[in-house]
Amino acid sequence: MSLQKVYEQYKDRADFWWVYIREAHPTDSSRPARHVQIEQPKTFLRRKEVASQCSSGLKLSIPCVVDDMKDTVSRAYDAMPDRLYILDAKSNIAFKGGRGPRSFSVDEMENALKSLLAKAEKPKAEKE
């Protein structure tokens, strides 16, 4: 399942943030990507522009936050080049996906999300 689909399916029950981080294969790197040609953004403004291009280019409507130029968030989560995490309602890490591109798995994340939501919503349903 694609990320966008997972987002659409669960966005009422969970929050989603897409964290735009440093480009993994920009044109000015040793291994530039072929499918899109982007130079590594040098300013936050430019990074925001690329993030927005990326959003539309990948047809993702997940709300986007942009990591700062020191890659604070990306470093904290060891997220390069791409990665999935789920935080629970207590702000603890509930699921940690593998590092992309090899271990990046939307399906794995969706399964975790599904069981997490089921667990979280069950006590509530019983009370009602």
């Binding site: 929050d15 897409w18 789920i86």
Partner: protein, 198 residues
């Protein structure tokens, strides 16, 4: 653990052979391209270990393995695999260059007990993929994935927060209006998707 063992093995070998003064290094004094037992100044046990095909000479290929052991020793052991690409290590062990490591080749530099562990399909030979997995570089779900010189050897340690630990105290600004979002305090289950365009 494995790395420690390898480091120790390599250290033991190199310690014997090369920690001594240079004149004790094996020298091909008659220039025939291989080292005979006579030309080898180290202990006989070591000679036998390096003479993989047991023909009484350490030939060029076997010398290469010896040099590799020495290089690794100088660099502080089997440098966490970061020091030595998998491919290079495989070729070092594969002294007859048939793309398989036999038991004899393995025992040249590695612990004999580990051969069984590494030879997962019990074929009597270790393939590059088996070595790759044995060295703990096959984590992740890459299938059929031995790509020499790429990936595994450069695997970084994972510094991401573990499941169950509190979310790192970081924040980021939204793309649209630069509102700061505190990612360490969420209201409900939150999915974080990290990525870039490329």
């Amino acid at each position: 653990m494995m790395r420690t063992i390898l480091t120790l093995v390599v250290f033991t070998l190199t310690g014997h052979l090369f920690a001594q003064d240079p004149s004790r290094r094996p020298v091909d004094s008659d220039g025939d391209g291989k080292i005979s037992r006579k030309e080898f100044s180290g202990p006989g046990e070591l000679f036998q270990r390096f003479d993989v095909n047991q023909d009484g000479f350490i030939d060029e290929k076997e010398r290469e393995a010896m040099r590799a052991a020495r290089r690794q020793g100088g660099r502080g052991g089997f440098g966490g695999v970061q020091g030595m690409p998998m491919r290079e290590f495989f070729h070092t062990l594969d002294t007859n260059n048939n793309q398989q490591i036999s038991k004899g080749e393995w025992e040249l530099l590695c612990k004999a007990d580990d051969f069984k562990k590494a030879d997962t399909d019990k074929s009597g030979y270790i393939t590059p993929r088996e070595l790759f997995l044995f060295l703990g570089m096959g984590q992740g779900d890459r299938s059929g994935g031995f790509r020499p010189g790429r990936g595994g050897a450069r695997e970084r340690p994972d510094r991401g927060p573990a499941v169950g630990s509190p979310a790192p105290k970081v924040a980021a600004k939204t793309m649209a209006d630069e509102k700061t979002i505190d990612l360490s305090k969420v209201m409900r289950t939150t999915v974080l998707v990290f990525g870039s365009y490329t």
